[in-house]
């Protein structure tokens, strides 16, 4: 243990975060403004997620941190070590063993269970921001439930490309009310948001917003009757390491002559499959 207060933040900051988190849970999909603190890492490295995790952590927690599905990349390793140091919590790479999972841009392949908390790092929380840059306007649009602009944007995609071209940060509608940015997860992960038994919390540090999906909340990806939502991944490919055909794959360039391979983005899922296969072989 260190000389830091438990989970780094001071108690007054934690109370402010707790109040924002409870309001976010009470109004699913609505972005609650909060007074984001400067954290010992730069904006864009998950300061929002780190603050939400710090406000929720208890000493008995087991924490998992993933970055694009991987447990072993810089962002994931540094945040995991940060909380091991300032909160003294146990850490794991196994999805099923974790009580809190902080994630950047993925939802684990292993289905989440009741009692788990998934904390998303969010760069731009406002789904309407690239359509309307003024905060005053987007706020009014949410208040009036005026999401026509977003439907037009999706329609223009179809007119131009023949399909809805958005592959990540695909907008969703929560419980038939708020349109929400699910953070830049691939749209392959969108169906996992719906009726999840886990509590899903979203923290945007630079933009000072927290929002939430309580367990068992209806989350619908926006689409049209004649152009239904399609959760896609690399077509007709399986993981080159574990041969999974049902997981989200990263394309890895292996040389400068066009060589490439597809591997699971979720390293824990992939490693567990390989270990199970080796166990069978032995």
């Amino acid at each position: 243990m260190s000389d830091y207060n438990f989970a780094y933040l001071d108690e007054a900051t934690k109370r402010m975060l707790r109040r924002a988190i409870l309001k976010a849970v009470a109004i699913p999909g609505y972005q609650v403004p909060f007074s984001s603190r400067e954290m010992p890492m730069p904006y864009g490295w998950g300061t929002g997620g780190v603050q939400v995790t710090a406000a929720c952590l208890v000493p008995e927690d087991t924490l998992k941190v993933i970055d694009q599905g991987a447990d072993d990349t810089t962002n994931a390793v540094s945040i995991r070590k940060f909380f091991a140091r300032v909160a003294g919590v146990a850490t794991t790479e196994a999805t099923a063993e974790a009580s809190i999972i902080q994630t950047r841009h993925r939802i684990p392949e292993t289905p989440l269970s009741e009692g788990q908390i998934l904390v998303f790092q969010v760069p731009i929380p406002e789904p309407l921001r690239f359509l309307e840059p003024r905060e005053t306007e987007t706020r009014t649009m949410h208040a009036l439930e005026d999401y026509g602009l977003m439907q037009v944007r999706l329609y223009e995609d179809i007119a131009r490309h023949g399909e809805i071209a958005r592959a990540y940060a695909y907008p969703v509608r929560v419980q038939g009310r708020y349109v929400m940015d699910p953070s830049p997860i691939p749209k392959f992960d969108n169906p996992k948001l719906n009726m999840s038994p886990a509590l899903q919390l979203f923290g945007a540090g630079r933009e000072c917003r927290i929002y939430a999906l309580p367990p068992f909340t209806h989350v619908e990806s926006l689409d049209f009757e004649d152009y239904p939502f399609q959760p896609s991944k690399a077509a007709d490919q399986a993981c080159a390491i574990c041969e999974a055909a049902d997981s989200y794959l990263d394309e890895v360039i292996t040389d400068d002559t066009g060589g490439r391979m597809f591997v699971c983005s979720d390293t824990d899922y992939c490693a567990a499959r390989v270990a199970a296969r080796q166990g069978d072989a032995a």
Partner: protein, 193 residues
Amino acid sequence: MSALLTAGFSDPAREGARAFRQVLDAMAHPGRIVTLEGVSAPAPCSDAAAIALMILADSTTPLHLAGAHDCPAMREWVAFHLGAPLCAPQHAGFALGTWQALGELSTYQQGVPEYPDRSATLIVELDQLHNEGVRLSGPGIEREAWLNLPDPGALQRNAARFPLGCDLMFTSGKTLAALPRSTRIEVPDVCRR
């Protein structure tokens, strides 16, 4: 002056964190009854209500003490442990009291369409909490949950204002259950008079 001021958490950061996880669990699963321990407050305040205030309220959150909860012992406890300014119902971020003492829900801040989060959280003291009475459904509830609510009609009107409205916590002794504004409330026919 009361003779003794009751103590707060012996380890505020860790015990407060554990208490918040219980409250978060309750708010994320409307109707679920959780147990809070570690702090006792002067009568008539329940331990659970005192702990909820201790982990959420401070000098930045105006607090309304209703009815019998507005007593010298409680005022001293709030001044020492929370530092929250006491205020009238219409200005309150948090309010504490029995259902009768708290009065009309519409007196409290409901939030505004642009900022529905700017609404009061009411901590309602009940004699007991049990999982029967009215049927709850909505976010946080897989199929259905049940909870004894003091006035289902008023709470249905509160839920009908979604995304505006108050959020409620019900406390009794060391137990707490939450009812966010997003929860649908149905009164079974047998209970209707």
